[in-house]
């Protein structure tokens, strides 16, 4: 019997399987097709605001996505520089094929992990192992799972992580052409939806879409604006030393090269714009757009609108920007970022050709919309375990999220929790003030979705604490406890923490003199009136840690991330302190558990709306209850009075509240 069986080898499944196997569990990873492991069916990029934070967090916890991306990107850039320390974040363009190969290699070499191609059609529970089981058999005191494939293979597992993505009863739509499919060209996973329904789990339906890919040979690159990669090294992983070498292939000569970036060869992206003719073509064909003619009814994401939706809703906007993104070093396929559509193919082609750079463009794959089943996560715990089926975990797109990074973050959380469950250890809960992954898990279980969920920095109320430069300081201790961060790496993390502390003690004691500051002609900074401590100097908006280095006052041994942490701690001390205090203020609510069997129906005093919402979401803590829309502070007061009363009246009989 496996400890953990993961169904689906997309971004969630890969992280789930690796986390479980690395925690020492016998792990099985099942996929319908071994050749599509870690496929990026949509955009060829990883990172960006909030999403990139998750990738950094995964690395800090001992996850995989950051390292696989670092090894296979064709370009990386730092976004939001100058907009604030906590929203600065990298984004990379991946070589899609290399990413898949690299991930498959990592899975194949992982001890404790078995990789199997199988389409699971049956999911059933089996009774606990009898005490009289033959010697050598696994003892498992709870019901386990019995999985069967369409070819008759069978597997038993103590826990199951379901990461089926969009393939649950999936349906792709391009114009009038509708196909039962998980992703373009793949069969949908049928049967699992039925098993879930049989367990009383209800399903909802969502929609998302992807743009067409065009042949690079038919693009006029002279009509585009080049977007080169970073001139200086950037990575998602925390390396505390040299970054491992990237997997660089020969650049397809069809792509104009960007400026040399000696630290790593990179491939640019190319910016183009739509115009009046493009918009006219789309509007003229709206009646053939499934989003508009009623062929698609499921809700799509507002943050990822189709091009027809953008043109229709923002008629005043004369042009929409589109990015041409090569899908790899060698391929001719170019992803048209921003043009996701389910218009008929002929309209897609006509529309693209109105843009000068694409006047002769040939589409290699048409864009399409995909509708799929998801499991409304009010049925799921913040650990990503099903509330109704013990030991069954859900992660990724089937929880209603979109994005590879969101999927990977959940995959890690679900995989780690499945492993902990199999070991009968307490679950891993990532709090909102500690990680974006925690923000996402908490949002999912306290809100009903109106569209696929995407992480955004604005969803994190404590985002100044959740910076990309300190993800390791926040999370590596947790990764360490899970057994995913080794001694040497943990030492490096603690050394970085120590460096920051020491530097914060040193800076108030060294001083910048006006004379020395005046020698810095290049900074263009306002003159210094009087001698100030290096700490106060850093508080100036125009000063950076590098300025201190130029003044001979910096510590050259400081890790670059540590330098950012020091700079942020100096500059935004007041803001950070405020968020820390707020975290302290609510900490008690976050750990104040509500018993799983708490009966809201008999509690008097709730307003009707609050009672209904509380019964729907069944929050695990008072903190979660407070985040449910429609639950007021007065309702929370009523709730805690009843919890306290319950605790006093039956201190020994009611189960210790667990999450």
């Amino acid at each position: 019997m496996y400890d953990v069986a993961v169904i689906g080898a997309g971004h969630a499944g890969c992280e789930a399987a690796l986390a479980a196997a690395r925690m020492g569990c016998r792990t099985l990873l099942l996929t319908m097709n071994l050749d599509t492991i870690a496929l990026m069916p949509c955009n060829p990029s990883v990172g960006g605001p909030a999403k990139g934070h998750v990738v950094r967090e995964l690395d800090a916890l001992g996850g995989q996505m950051a390292r696989t991306t670092d090894r296979t990107f064709i370009q990386i850039r730092m976004l939001n520089t100058g907009k604030g320390p906590a929203v600065q974040v990298p984004r990379a363009q991946a070589d899609k094929r290399l990413y898949m190969l690299e991930m498959k290699k990592t899975l194949e070499r992982q001890p404790n992990l078995t990789l199997r191609q199988a389409t699971i059609t049956g999911l059933a529970r089996i009774p606990p192992t009898a005490p009289a089981a033959p010697p050598g058999a696994d003892l498992w005191p709870r019901p386990a799972f019995h999985l069967t494939s369409h070819t008759g293979q069978a597997f038993d597992a103590k826990t199951v992580v379901l990461t089926a993505g969009t393939s649950l009863a999936g349906r792709t739509i391009t114009g009038n052409a509708t196909l039962a499919a998980g992703r373009a060209g793949e069969p949908p996973a049928l049967g699992i939806s039925d098993a879930l329904r049989a367990w009383g789990i209800s399903l909802g339906r969502l929609k998302t879409g992807t743009p067409p890919r065009v042949d690079a040979r038919t693009i006029d690159f002279t009509q585009t604006v080049m977007q080169p990669g970073s001139a200086t090294p950037i990575s998602f992983g925390f390396y505390y030393g040299d970054m491992p070498p990237g997997w660089v292939l020969e650049r397809n000569p069809i792509y104009p090269a960007g400026p040399e970036t000696p630290w790593r060869p990179q491939l640019p992206c190319y910016l183009i714009h739509t115009n009046a003719a493009t918009h006219e073509t789309i509007l003229r064909n709206l009646d053939r757009a499934p989003m508009f003619n009623g062929a698609i009814t499921a809700r799509g994401p507002r943050y990822c609108p189709s091009i027809e939706d953008k043109v229709h809703r923002f008629r005043d906007k004369p042009a929409h920007g589109l990015f041409l993104e090569p899908e790899g070093w060698e391929t001719n396929e170019v992803y048209v970022q921003g043009a996701n559509t389910s218009l008929p193919e002929d309209v897609q082609i006509e529309m693209l050709r109105t843009i000068p750079a694409l006047a002769r463009a040939e589409v290699m794959r048409a864009g399409y919309a995909v509708e799929y089943d998801y499991i409304p996560p009010s049925q799921t715990r913040v650990t990503l375990e099903s509330k109704s089926v013990d030991g069954l975990f859900f992660a990724g797109q089937m929880n209603g999220t979109s994005g590879y990074e969101e999927a990977a973050g959940q995959g890690f959380l679900a995989g780690a929790n499945a492993a902990l469950h199999a070991r009968q250890r307490p679950p891993l809960i990532l709090q909102r003030d500690v990680s974006y992954i925690g923000v996402m898990a908490d949002d999912l279980v306290t809100h009903d979705l109106v569209e696929p969920y995407r992480l955004m920095t604005s969803r994190a109320e404590f985002r100044l604490l959740l910076r990309q430069d300190n993800a390791d300081l926040r999370l590596s201790p947790i990764g360490r406890e899970l057994g995913l961060i080794g001694d040497a790496r943990m030492e490096a993390v603690e050394r970085k923490r120590w460096q920051i502390d020491r530097e914060m003690e040193r800076l108030p004691r060294v001083f910048v003199s006006p004379a020395a500051h005046a020698t810095l002609e290049s900074t263009g900074a306002a003159a210094l009136g009087r001698k100030v401590s290096a700490l106060d100097f850093l508080r100036r908006q125009d000063a950076t840690y590098n300025t201190l280095v130029s003044l001979g006052l910096g510590d050259l041994t400081l890790h670059p991330d540590a330098a950012i942490s020091v700079e942020v701690a100096a500059k935004y001390e007041g803001y950070i302190e405020k968020q820390r205090r707020e975290v302290e203020r609510i900490r008690r609510l976050e750990t104040w558990a509500i018993p799983r069997d708490f009966d809201y129906a008999v509690v008097t005093g709730f307003r009707a709306e609050a009672r209904e919402k509380l019964m729907h979401f069944r929050p695990a803590t008072v903190g979660q209850a407070g985040r449910i829309l429609g639950v007021t502070p007065a309702d929370m007061s009523i709730l805690v009075v009843h919890l306290e009363r319950l605790a006093r009246s039956a201190p020994l009989t009611h189960s210790p509240a667990s999450l």
């Binding site: 955009n43 960006g48 605001p49 909030a50 976004l79 939001n80 100058g82 907009k83 604030g84 320390p85 906590a86 929203v87 994401p301 507002r302 943050y303 990822c304 609108p305 953008k310 809703r313 923002f314 906007k317 929409h320 920007g321 990015f323 970022q337 921003g338 996701n340 955004m456 920095t457 604005s458 969803r459 109320e461 985002r463 100044l464 908006q541 935004y572 803001y575 302290e584 203020r585 609510i586 900490r587 008690r588 609510l589 008097t604 005093g605 008072v622 829309l629 007021t632 502070p633 007065a634 929370m636 007061s637 009523i638 805690v640 009075v641 306290e644 009363r645 006093r648 009246s649």
Partner: protein
Amino acid sequence: MYDDTIVAIATPPGRGGLGVVRLSGREAWRITGELFTGRLADHRAVYGTLRDGERGEMVDEAMVTAMAAPQTYTREDVVEISCHGSPVVLQRVVALALRHGARLASPGEFTLRAFLHGRIDLAQAESVLDVIQAQTEAGLRQAVDGLRGRLSGALKEAQDVLLGVQAYLTACIDFPEDEVESQAVGDPKDALERAAKMLQDLKASAGAGMVYRNGVATAIIGRPNVGKSSLLNRLLGEERAIVTPMPGTTRDTVEETANIRGIPFRLIDTAGLRSTEDAVERMGMERSRRAMERADVLLLVVDGSMALTDEDTALLAAADGRPTVVAANKCDLARGTDLSQVKAPVACISALTGEGMDGLAALLESAALGGKAAPSDAPLVTNPRHAAALERALASVTAAQRGLRDGLPQEMVTIDLSAALEALGEITGQGVHEALLDTIFSQFCVGK
């Protein structure tokens, strides 16, 4: 329930010479230290003065009892500030505590904390619930009333402006590669300026709103037999006080509420202030002085048919610096008073015939509203919780403006703006994040 420090007025509104403001939570002592000159001692009443640190101005004298946990009502650190019972003073003390980091207590929250900390036994849990429910329902009714009409419109306007700026900045941060156009918002600096102005107006209306809601304690003072009780009766429109031509008839203070131009004036008729040997009368006069002390507005009655006496002048001097209206009574008789030296606004009236009463009403209204004109179409904030939330929203908008001016990164500005929106959301009960996303996606074409 939260681990922060709460504050509220502990005595019933608008009654009694003494009022108590209570704080509970770990910062109760520190916060009190910021506004009280006395040296706090555990479980001991200490005399001192309350000061508004910002203006250095004395607010009131007070007896303050600080109590360290756990031997307190809530089992947290508790401070009780006893000062004069005027709603204006009490609200100012609460406002000072809020400024120094306290939070306005929710209905029943002191009791709730006492219960959660095991101070109150199980049998009392029901009554805790009753308190919360009853006050919640009352609060809800009030909130609904307050939010109907003009206030909700004005709040929504300010909120929309802030949401617009927040949506713009957030869209820039979360969709860095989209071309986010600021047309919908205009210059964020201008927009914030507009929002700040709206919030300031709303906050200013809160002062007036409190006056309309809590009423104004008004002491009717004057020498004996100038017609104070007749005036009281005229204002009340009914016979209440004993009116006789004999000086010194009113031996006790009489308190009645008259609705003047929509404002509840709690009129305190005082025994005529005059040096006297009569013991009963002396007691009445002692009460009068106390009534003067706790009044928000003084209504000084003089006999307009004769020249000001030394006593009148002394009373005018005593009232100097306080909101005062002078009623020159008996103007139906010969006018014998030279009022040109009187600084306070004067109305010539006849309590007997009702002449000049409209003019007096206008002066009283103006004195109650702090010299400002009555709000005609301005929305009124009448709920102290709303006023506190407005104050916080305004402070956060001001911080955001400062951030923009000092060139802080956009992110810091968004943090201040979320705090402002959260504070307004407490009034409107609207989920801030959902509203923000709606604004982003309806105003900006973002996302790939």
